[in-house]
Symmetry: C2
Subunit: 206 residues, 2 copies
């Protein structure tokens, strides 16, 4: 899959690097193209470009921007022309707390900003370090996703399974109202409650 990655920070760098190592072609869009490919990328067909070119390149586009610049980046992206947009952002405000929620969600806001995109919320509820440590068997982490387009969700499910995650379909995009609080739970447990950055959620099925 050709994947445009908007944002080359912890999340975009980690996921882009992992997918590149599995044979997907990656184009990172970052503010300063001269910064080059993120240090997390060790192999693969990878380059850095601007936002519009990364979107144009992608069969799928990963959104991995800090919340504060997300709307601006999506404006620069232009029309997505029906492309899959994987929203890995969280609407984080100082505190940390959520900037939006309850009657909307970051995922729904993103869908309103990204013209012509089929948005799937995913990869937002685990710290960036964890993408390389899905675990196996009893230790396998779940990755929760939601969206309104079944075909788009199938692609995301496949991309998550390739990384080793147990993929959990949570329903419509409005379920981001629960997946973003789940991210806040991860953040506060990891950072404030002393559980550390290696924690992950697993959905037990019995």
């Amino acid at each position: 899959v050709n994947i445009g990655v908007l944002g080359a920070g912890n999340v975009g760098g980690a996921l882009g690097g992992l997918w590149a190592a599995r044979g997907h072609r990656i184009r990172f869009a970052r503010r300063r193209v001269a910064e080059g490919v993120p240090a997390s990328v060790s192999s693969g067909d990878v380059a850095v470009t601007d936002v519009a070119a990364a979107v144009e390149f992608g069969d799928a586009v990963l959104l991995a921007t800090p919340w504060g610049v997300t709307q601006e980046v999506l404006r620069a992206a232009g029309d997505f022309g029906g492309r899959l947009l994987i929203d890995a952002t969280n609407p984080i405000a100082p505190g940390p707390s959520l900037a939006v929620g309850f009657s909307t969600s970051g995922g729904e806001e993103v869908a309103g900003w990204a013209r012509g995109a089929r948005v799937v919320k995913c990869f937002n509820s685990l710290g960036a370090d964890g993408f390389a440590r899905p675990g196996t068997g009893a230790d396998q982490a779940s990755m929760f996703y939601c969206g309104d387009d079944g075909a788009a969700k199938s692609v995301v499910r496949q991309l998550g399974e390739e990384l080793g995650f147990d993929m959990v379909d949570c329903g419509a995009l409005s379920q981001a109202r629960y997946l973003e609080p789940l991210a806040m739970l991860w953040i506060t447990l990891a950072m404030q409650q002393g559980y550390g950055r290696d924690i992950a959620m697993k959905l037990l099925r019995r």
Copy 2:
């Protein structure tokens, strides 16, 4: 521990029955006292009474009411006199969706309504059937709780561990803003997404 249980439905009946079987004394408050002890109770020192008497009896009080009558029941309870109030409710509106969230939570609303209570949010993020199936080892479910009083949280932790759960301290009571969406995630996965009522969340620590 003497435990008053406000509400004798699925949640109150299940937890009250399990704690009674472990030697705690239980007083259920239910709308019609003549309905007697819930069918889920198989043994122990258990009786049915009114709300004020159940609170008076309890060293701890479990709040397990449907959201719509919660404020009315807490008004009937009078002053809690510093008692621990374990809030197992969820502010469920039709849909289902949350009736409050983001800038407040059911847990915080309950704390505003329950005069003189030390409120701990717990036992809200798992279906009532699951309280008897904590699982063991790799299959052990986590139970998430939050509150502003350390001593009160220690009692809740102990009561959850006695049931066999991996108890996860999520911090201050305002964290109910994330634990109630977690309940909605359980509800929608179990009921709408086809995962069924036996699912449970586990916090993987690595």
